[in-house]
Symmetry: C2
Subunit: 310 residues, 2 copies
């Protein structure tokens, strides 16, 4: 119960929202550093059109290089799961062609956001997912599900909790092994998290759930605290808080991995991650993306004379 898994999304969800485009080689080096710091789940690529998401250009090349290094056994990547986002059947086929076994699909709990982001209704998107899942199964892939806008939507406002619960069950029935519940615009508070996550646990159990918080309004760690109290043990985060928020240009996006790990270690949870190394990676990637990152721990550094946990 004291072990917590971090799913590092900085190299995908993070970089995808950065202005600077990084080469597959730099992104590979990023992944190796993350794995070297002890992160065991790394989302690294996205099989999307480079016309739409230029930041993810070269994901095929990147995933091939990374998987080759992983299987060589000589890279820090050897013990880490490397995954990629697949938006549709074509992306799934690309993933298979690149030898990627761990993929993720991206669903929306907001009808308005589904329309804007993937240009179809929620119902239509599940039709697509069914085909993706079929291909994934025939290839023996492991599929993770994201469900975005679970706590509110900038285009729709409040999102009914009953709808979130129904969609998580549908993703489970499709065969994903875990659903990551997204507060995509960082509006959630710990009470709301307690309420929704309690319902989700009743429906699918805590082991099926991960939480994906954005720190846009500073509440991400409080929301993680609330989730921990209910038994959730998997959290998505982004090194340095890479990525920003596409709906509020000056604002913070994904919660920073350093901040999550700092809090978890202080509370006695084990992540297997070396916090000092995360801070060094923050300094390295800050130079690459050419701006200071929002992580509080990244800026403040480790506390002097106090234990920092493991």
């Amino acid at each position: 119960m004291s072990k917590v898994t971090i799913v590092e999304v900085g190299a995908r969800d993070g970089l995808q929202n950065e202005k600077v485009l990084l080469s597959p080689e730099i992104r590979l080096e990023f992944a190796e550093k993350l794995a070297g710091a002890g992160i065991r789940k790394i989302e690294l690529g996205a099989f999307v059109s480079p016309q739409w998401v230029p930041q993810m250009r070269g994901s095929t090349e990147l995933m091939k290089m990374a998987l080759a290094r992983k299987t060589s056994g000589k890279s820090s990547l050897k013990d880490s799961e490397l995954s990629a986002l697949v938006p549709n059947l074509r992306g799934m086929q690309d993933a298979i062609d690149a030898g990627v076994k761990d993929v993720a699909i991206f669903a929306s709990a907001s009808e308005a956001f589904a329309k804007k982001n993937i240009n179809c209704s929620i119902e239509e998107s599940f039709g697509r997912f069914a085909k993706v899942m079929e291909l994934a199964k025939s290839n023996g892939s492991r599929v993770r599900g994201y469900l975005s806008m679970c706590f509110g939507c900038p285009f729709e406002g409040e999102v009914p909790e009953g709808r979130v619960v129904r969609l998580v069950k549908r993703l489970r029935d499709l065969g994903v092994y875990e659903v990551s519940i997204g507060d995509t615009i960082g509006v959630a508070n710990p009470m709301q998290v307690h309420r929704l996550v309690s319902k989700l646990i009743d429906a699918v159990g805590e082991d099926f759930l991960a939480m994906h918080f954005h720190d846009t309004r500073g509440t991400a760690l409080a929301n993680i605290h609330s989730s921990l109290q209910l038994g959730i043990r998997v959290f998505d985060s982004s090194l340095g808080g890479l990525g920003g928020c596409p709906y509020a240009p000056a604002a913070t996006g994904n919660v920073a991995t350093e901040d999550v790990v700092y809090m978890l270690h202080g509370m006695g949870y084990k992540t297997g991650i070396d916090l000092a190394q995360l801070i060094a990676i923050n300094q390295w990637i800050t130079e690459k993306v050419q701006h200071e990152l929002p992580s509080r721990v990244g800026r403040a550094g480790l506390p002097k004379l106090l234990p920092i946990g493991t």
Copy 2:
């Protein structure tokens, strides 16, 4: 149980750690805006040597102007308590001379920090406080106590919880009406908060306690969440997160009032504070201190189409 009191410390603890020096007139305008937004407790001045703390220069003039406006009944300040920090007997006399009835004294739970900050041992500082309290009582002043470094110290490392509990009891026995428990360097986590605050509540009761968190490592709102769960209903915060952290120049200091109020309202707590006005004040004071402030809500703004509470 659903009412929470915010003690706004931006005009004192915040501005005291800013590089730019603001005139008493600007600080008065700041206080009027804060009171106009519904903040009922504002720490505004410090009767300290302007040689040591130039940011607080003109506190006598400022407090006199502010109290005159308050009693005039025509200012937004009319319903707000305006307090000042008094470090010693001379400061207490200055407060009395300026007509200030609400004062605060500043104690340390770290022996090393007491030596560095006020140049005496904890024991010696309590000797001074006894004299300050005597003068305060004879003047009918209300005295709040701060206890700093309760969760760790940059010069001493871990601070024994038993010592924190003893010092809070001593402050109570001296006659302060409330003690604000400070995480002065922003190292605390929600588990540690739960442990220490539980002991403090056993010793002095929740109504005697306020929590003063810094967001240096991003945990402030999680720590407030943990405190709320134990029944704490008074929190110190600083508009915009004004102030920074004197021990880590790039880092955040006081938790931002906007962020605290956003979370509290979302959770259904009532503060009587208008969040939209806080964001407007953030923009105003940002110009005065000449740098962007760390408040997440200040940067992101209010969520669209979602309720923001009162």
